[in-house]
C-alpha cells in the first residue's frame, strides 16, 4: 500500500501494550504536532468511525453528484460543452474512486460502503437532491456547488488523516477547473440574449440557498464539529467557511450581472464581510430527511445501476476464478 511507505518506523510510536489511555494521549500529541495519522497507526475507534462516516459520505456525494449533471450530457448545446461536461462527470466518478480507496485504508470495503448507501444508512450531500432543469443549472452547479466544495475541501488537504488529506489535494485541483468551467457557462449566458440571461438568473435563484446550506448547520447547532476540530479532521467551522464562500461569490455574481436572491445581503464595512439573510433550516432538515425534490429518484437511479450491474460484476468474478483455476491446472500438468 502506498500509504505504508510514508510511515516512518524510527519515529516514536506507542505500542499497544501501553494501554488505551496512554495511546490516546500519544495520539493527541501527534495531532497537536500536526503529524499525519496513517492507516496502520493506532487511532481511537471513534476517530476511525468518524473518518469512515465522513469519507464514505464524501465518496457517495461524488457518485450521486454524477446524476444531476449527467442529466445534461446528452443535451449539452455545443460539442465542446458536451465533451467538457462528460469529462467533468467522469472526474467526479474518479473522485468517488479515490475517496472509497482512502476509506478502505480504514478497514471497510467499497462494497460495504455502497451497501450502506443503498440501504439508506449512509448519507450523501443534500445538494444533489435538487433537479437540473435548464442548461444554466450546469453552470450554477460548477460555479456554486463545486465552488462550495472547494471551500470545504481546501482545509481538508491539511486534515490529520494522511490518505484523506492526499486524496483532497488531487480532488481540489480538478474541482477548481470545474468551478471555472461552470462560471464560464454562466458568463456565456449572461453575455448572450435576454432569454439566456434570464435562464442564468432563474438558475441562480434556485441554487443559491441550497449551495450555502452545503456548509451545514450553524456552528452552535453542529453536532460533530467540536470533536472533529479537536482531531484536526475539520479545520475551519461551518459558519466561517460559509462566510468565506459568500464573500468570494458575491462579487462573481455581480461580475455576471446577476442578482443574488437575498434581499438582506449587504456589505458590512465594519467587518469587511457580506451580511446575509436567514437560512431556511426547515428546508435543510426536510431535504436531509429525504423530502427534497429528487431524493427518491437519485436513490432509485443508484439502486438500478447497482442491480443492473450485478450480473456484470458476477461475470467478472466468475471469469477471474476460472482463469485462476485454468492457470493452476496448467501448472499442475
Amino acid at each position: 500500500m502506498y500509504t505504508q511507505a510514508l510511515n516512518d518506523p524510527s519515529s516514536k510510536i506507542a505500542t499497544v501494550e501501553e494501554g488505551e489511555e496512554k495511546l490516546n494521549d500519544y495520539f493527541m500529541e501527534r495531532i497537536s504536532a500536526d503529524e499525519k495519522i496513517e492507516p496502520n497507526d493506532w487511532m481511537p475507534a471513534s476517530y476511525r468511525k468518524t473518518l469512515i462516516r465522513q469519507i464514505s459520505q464524501h465518496a457517495h456525494s461524488e457518485v450521486i453528484g454524477m446524476l444531476p449533471e449527467g442529466n445534461w450530457i446528452t443535451r449539452a448545446p455545443t460539442l465542446r460543452r458536451k465533451a467538457t461536461l462528460l469529462a467533468k462527470v467522469q472526474d467526479e466518478g474518479g473522485h468517488g474512486l479515490y475517496l472509497y480507496a482512502a476509506a478502505e485504508t480504514l478497514g471497510i470495503s467499497r462494497e460495504e460502503m455502497q451497501q450502506q448507501l443503498l440501504d439508506g444508512k449512509a448519507r450523501y450531500s443534500s445538494i444533489f437532491n435538487y433537479p437540473t432543469l435548464t442548461w444554466a443549472d450546469i453552470g450554477s452547479i460548477g460555479w456554486l456547488v463545486d465552488g462550495a466544495a472547494i471551500m470545504n475541501q481546501i482545509p481538508l488537504c491539511r486534515c490529520s488523516f494522511g490518505p484523506y488529506a492526499r486524496a483532497m489535494v488531487r480532488v481540489c485541483k480538478e474541482e477548481s477547473f470545474h468551478q471555472r468551467q461552470g462560471y464560464e457557462i454562466l458568463l456565456a449566458l449572461c453575455k448572450g440574449s435576454a432569454e439566456q440571461k434570464a435562464m442564468a438568473q432563474e438558475s441562480l435563484d434556485r441554487w443559491w440557498w441550497p449551495s450555502i446550506m452545503m456548509f451545514g448547520p450553524h456552528d452552535a447547532n453542529s453536532t460533530h464539529s467540536d470533536q472533529s476540530m479537536a482531531w484536526k479532521i475539520k479545520r475551519i467551522s461551518n459558519d466561517d467557511l460559509r462566510q468565506k464562500f459568500i464573500d468570494a461569490t458575491v462579487p462573481q455574481a455581480h461580475h455576471l450581472g446577476l442578482e443574488i436572491p437575498d434581499p438582506d445581503l449587504k456589505f458590512n464595512e465594519k467587518t469587511g464581510h457580506w451580511d446575509f439573510g436567514k437560512i431556511d433550516w426547515d428546508e435543510f432538515k426536510r431535504v436531509l430527511a429525504g423530502n427534497g425534490p429528487c431524493n427518491r429518484e437519485r436513490m432509485e437511479a443508484r439502486t438500478k445501476a447497482h442491480n443492473d450491474g450485478d450480473w456484470v460484476r458476477k461475470a467478472a468474478l466468475a471469469h477471474a476464478a476460472k482463469q485462476a483455476a485454468r492457470k493452476s491446472t496448467r501448472k499442475a500438468a
Binding site: 457518485v63 454524477m66 446524476l67 449527467g70 450530457i73 446528452t74 443535451r75 449539452a76 448545446p77 455545443t78 460539442l79 465542446r80 460543452r81 458536451k82 465533451a83 462528460l86 469529462a87 462527470v89 467522469q90 466518478g93 474518479g94 468517488g96 474512486l97 472509497y100 442548461w135 457557462i185 456565456a188 449566458l189 453575455k191 448572450g192 440574449s193 432569454e195 439566456q196 437511479a301 438500478k304 445501476a305 443492473d308 450491474g309 450485478d310 450480473w311 456484470v312 460484476r313 458476477k314 461475470a315 467478472a316 468474478l317 466468475a318 471469469h319 476460472k322
Partner: protein, 258 residues
C-alpha cells in the same frame, strides 16, 4: 487540404467527413449515456473515456466537413442543425445502448473495424484526414483492448453473462455489413488514395473477431442478410429520438452562442 479538391469532388469528401464524424458523434453520445449508470464505478469512467475519444473525433471530422463544404457551417451547425436523413452514420451506432453486453459487443465490432481503417488512413493523401486518423488510431486500439477484455469476461463468465453476450453478438451482426459498403462517392475517394477500400480490412476484421469470440466461447453468426441505409440517410427509428434530445437546446433557441 485544398489541393485534393482539384482531383476529387468536394461533395465526395464532404460526404466522407460526415460519415466518419456522424458515426463517432452518435456512438460517443450512446456511450455518454452510461455516465453515472455503469455496473462498476471504473466502467462509468472507462465508458466516459471512450465517449470522449469519439466526441473528439467527431469534432475534428465535422469541422473538416464544414471546411470542405465551404458554406460556413462549423461542427455545431452540422451536429445540431441537420435532421436524421442528413446524418450519414452507420446504423450500428445509433441503436440504443442496451445492456452492458450490448454496449461492449458493439464497441468490439466497431473498433475491430475502425482500428485497421484508421491505421490505413494515416497514409491518406488528404493530410487533414491523415492527421485525424493518426490520433484516432491510438484511441481505437484502446477501445478494442477494453471491449475485447470485457467480451471475454462476459462470454466466459456466467451462464447469464454468456447468454447476454451471445444475444448481443447475434442482434448486432446484421449491422456489420454496412462498414464494408462503398458508394460512388467512396469509390472516387478510394481511387484518389484518400479513403481505404474496406475490402482490404475484411481479413483483419475477421481475424480479430474470431480470436476474441473464440476466447469468449461465443459463436460468430453465419453471414446472412445485412442491414443497410445509414450512410445514405435511411436510418432506424432510434436516430430521430437521439437527435431530438441532442439538438433540443440549440433548436429551442436558434442562433445563440453557448
Amino acid at each position: 487540404m485544398a489541393a485534393e479538391l482539384e482531383i476529387v469532388s468536394r461533395e465526395a469528401l464532404f460526404d466522407l467527413a460526415l460519415r466518419l464524424g456522424d458515426t463517432s458523434l452518435v456512438l460517443g453520445h450512446r456511450l455518454s449515456e452510461w455516465a453515472g449508470h455503469g455496473p462498476l464505478l471504473e466502467e462509468d469512467i472507462a465508458l466516459s473515456n471512450l465517449g470522449l475519444d469519439l466526441i473528439g473525433q467527431a469534432r475534428s471530422f465535422l469541422s473538416y466537413a464544414g471546411e470542405v463544404e465551404g458554406k460556413g457551417r462549423d461542427e455545431d451547425k452540422l451536429a445540431f442543425f441537420r435532421n436524421a436523413p442528413e446524418y450519414k452514420n452507420l446504423l450500428m451506432v445509433e441503436l440504443p445502448k442496451g445492456d452492458f453486453a450490448f454496449t461492449m459487443v458493439r464497441q468490439l465490432l466497431f473498433s475491430a473495424f475502425h482500428l485497421p481503417l484508421f491505421r490505413r488512413m494515416i497514409n491518406s493523401t488528404d493530410t487533414t484526414i491523415a492527421a485525424i486518423a493518426a490520433k484516432a488510431e491510438k484511441e481505437m486500439s484502446y477501445h478494442l483492448r477494453h471491449s475485447s477484455q470485457w467480451v471475454v469476461r462476459m462470454g466466459d463468465g456466467t451462464e447469464e453473462s454468456h447468454a447476454r453476450c451471445q444475444k448481443a453478438v447475434d442482434d448486432l451482426w446484421p449491422y456489420t455489413g454496412e462498414v464494408f459498403e462503398v458508394d460512388n462517392n467512396a469509390r472516387e475517394l478510394i481511387e484518389a488514395g484518400i479513403w481505404v477500400d474496406p475490402e482490404y480490412l475484411r481479413d483483419e476484421w475477421n481475424g480479430t473477431l474470431d480470436a476474441v469470440l473464440n476466447e469468449a466461447t461465443l459463436k460468430k453468426p453465419e453471414s446472412g442478410w445485412m442491414q443497410s441505409g445509414g450512410i445514405s440517410g435511411t436510418h432506424s427509428e432510434h436516430l430521430g429520438h437521439l437527435l431530438a434530445e441532442m439538438q433540443s437546446v440549440q433548436r429551442a433557441y436558434p442562433g445563440l452562442k453557448w
